[in-house]
Point group: C2
Chain length 372, copies 2
């Protein structure tokens, strides 16, 4: 099985691949990348170069992705050449192009914010006039982790976003109570499963913490959120994982973003679910029966490790592991840079406050050396 891209998502696919006897191949930019360090069959190449992609796909039973940046036309070319690519281009484009995604979700009746394509700053100002300020501008392609999103409160803010020169669309600002995420898997056969709805906590547009299941969520709303995610997977013909980021508002659920791969909001599943998202993605893209998404503990909390000023985290391992023999650490084999996702920690238990405190303690201490 080939994975285009060699970041932490490909890296974390190796453990379940080892268990299932699936041999992975990754396309990396360099042999130092996160997944290249742990996968024997690493090919070096450029995911924007069709001939590199073609050479990479040769001999793979199926090709999937670590990220969404492979040009859609290249994916179509691989498929035309007879390669099994999952998710396929027709599905993946909805995770690559936010305007295409909004068009489609609106067409199938999924709740979205008001939105419009806004080729010019004037279009965006007109949109704000109709739907009210602030207005959210998003780059149609290529944004992630808060990059490519501008919350504009004035025409000057709009002008600033347009000064970047990237293609922008507008969405009305959603006054949300909290952010939720639903991870579902769908196989080519059409089997689907949904993990429990989780709450995601973001800072500066980056996910810092995930609480599974989402605390105190009305079971009806949870079922509705899962139904929306499964419907999107089915309507879009997703094969593999689909992460649906949502806003919970006073009026219900509004869909924010889509990702078609293992997702940061699902890292808790490695220990916290019977089948991890990484195993589930392998099973889905290989068209094997899907695994149970059941929780292994009543409460699971995942906290991201975002690089701080000190590049050497290893020296603080001892305290963290000695302090909490149940804490689970995950490192991505990446050099520490401020703000970069370099790993995550997971804690499991029965009491949310206690489990959250354990996960935060480990994460804060590892990055800063401080005690919380």
């Amino acid at each position: 099985m080939g994975i285009v891209g060699a970041g932490q998502l490909a890296r974390m696919s190796q453990p379940p691949a080892i268990a299932l006897g699936v041999e992975l191949r990754v396309l990396a930019n360099s042999p130092d990348e996160s997944a290249a360090r742990v996968i024997v069959d690493t090919r070096i190449g450029n995911y924007r170069d069709l001939s590199d992609l073609q050479q990479f796909a040769e001999g793979c039973d199926v090709v999937t992705f670590d990220h969404e940046h492979v040009p859609t036309e290249h994916i179509r070319a691989l498929t035309a050449a007879g390669h099994a690519v999952r998710p396929g281009a027709d599905a993946l484009v909805h995770a690559q192009d936010k305007a295409v995604m909004r068009e489609r979700l609106t067409a199938i009746g999924v709740p979205c914010p008001a939105w419009a394509r806004t080729p010019s700053a004037e279009d965006a100002e007109r949109f704000a006039g109709e739907h009210g300020w602030p207005v959210v501008l998003k780059s149609v392609r290529g944004g992630y982790d808060g990059r490519g999103v501008w919350v504009c409160r004035t025409p000057d803010d709009i002008a600033e976003a347009f000064a970047t020169g990237v293609e922008l669309m507008a969405e009305s600002f959603v006054p949300f109570e909290r952010e939720l995420a639903v991870l579902v898997a769908r196989s080519p056969h059409g089997q689907g499963v949904s993990y429990p709805v989780v709450e995601t906590v973001q800072e500066n547009g980056i996910c810092v913490e995930v609480l599974a299941p989402a605390p105190d969520l009305d079971p009806e709303l949870a079922a509705q959120a899962q139904a929306i995610a499964l419907k999107i997977a089915d309507e879009l013909g997703v094969t593999g994982l689909l992460a649906v980021e949502m806003f919970q508002t006073a009026d219900g659920i509004v869909v924010n973003e889509l990702a078609m791969r293992p997702h940061n909001s699902g890292h808790w599943t490695i220990e916290g679910a019977v089948t991890s998202q990484f195993e589930q993605h392998l099973r889905a893209v290989l068209d094997m029966p899907l695994g149970s998404p059941q929780l292994t503990a009543p409460v699971v909390v995942m906290v991201n490790l975002l690089g701080g000023d000190d590049p050497d985290l290893f020296k603080r391992y001892e305290h963290v592991l000695a302090h909490d023999p149940g804490i689970k650490l995950h490192f991505y084999g990446k050099e520490v840079r401020p703000g970069r996702k370099i790993g995550h920690v997971t804690a499991l238990g029965t009491d949310l406050d206690e489990v959250r405190a354990r996960a935060r303690h480990a994460a804060v201490h590892l990055v800063t050396g401080e005690y919380t």
Copy 2:
């Protein structure tokens, strides 16, 4: 971290190494071996050749083992050359030489069967005369999985065992009720942890099934078994894992065998314990604080996959995974040969009969295609 040997134990060490950010190197006989398929830094060499071992150890922070067949004098030479080898030669010899092991366990007061070094068939017959028939002859070095063990009921049986020419010792036959195993870890600092006592079910000297925790075990006897294992680890100066195979008899516990590495009786810990034996071994040999050995479910059953007549197990994946979305499969990337350990399956739950039936169903179907 270097692992001498590239079998399934080294292979299953790669997932926790990936999580903890520990880079593994293995010494393999060939690039097709189980662990060599999944570990980037694979060196090809002969574990009986000191210069291969020296070259392998160069640059490793610590060296450990996938098996116990490295000559003791080579381990001493590596240590003398300044390499950290864990477990060390003085501990490991007790897992390599059964007579040395019996001498030491007897000296520290651990319950053993009656035993004697028996250089000749006459010595063995004299032993049988003193301790009664049957008598168990064991090769002092190199036996495993039932190989190197002869249960002798007559002098002819003894003569047959001695005809092999290997060095033999005698033990009295233990009329046991069942077999138990205790897995403990000890770090160079001297921290120790014990996993719950498990029951192991053997057929033809090969472990086929492990039940965790051992069903209906008297808590006092369980505590006694754990205390024995921790005492052995401490007295022998073990660093890393120690598996102690035991007989439960009407009169209590008798120690059967020792292994100083991750062990088949601990494969259930991958999903069934907060810290898997593979993660625990890494933590112990790296002198990091040890992890929690707590169960993640009330009942865990592991069944070995022993190769049958059909080399292609993959085609039966679908039924097994579809039948039981909670079953966990592990394949070792080995060619199927009749009787060879090629993988294992693990089931978790609350009811022993149900969990055992699930694990057996998966294992039997994968190997034979039959439905149980």
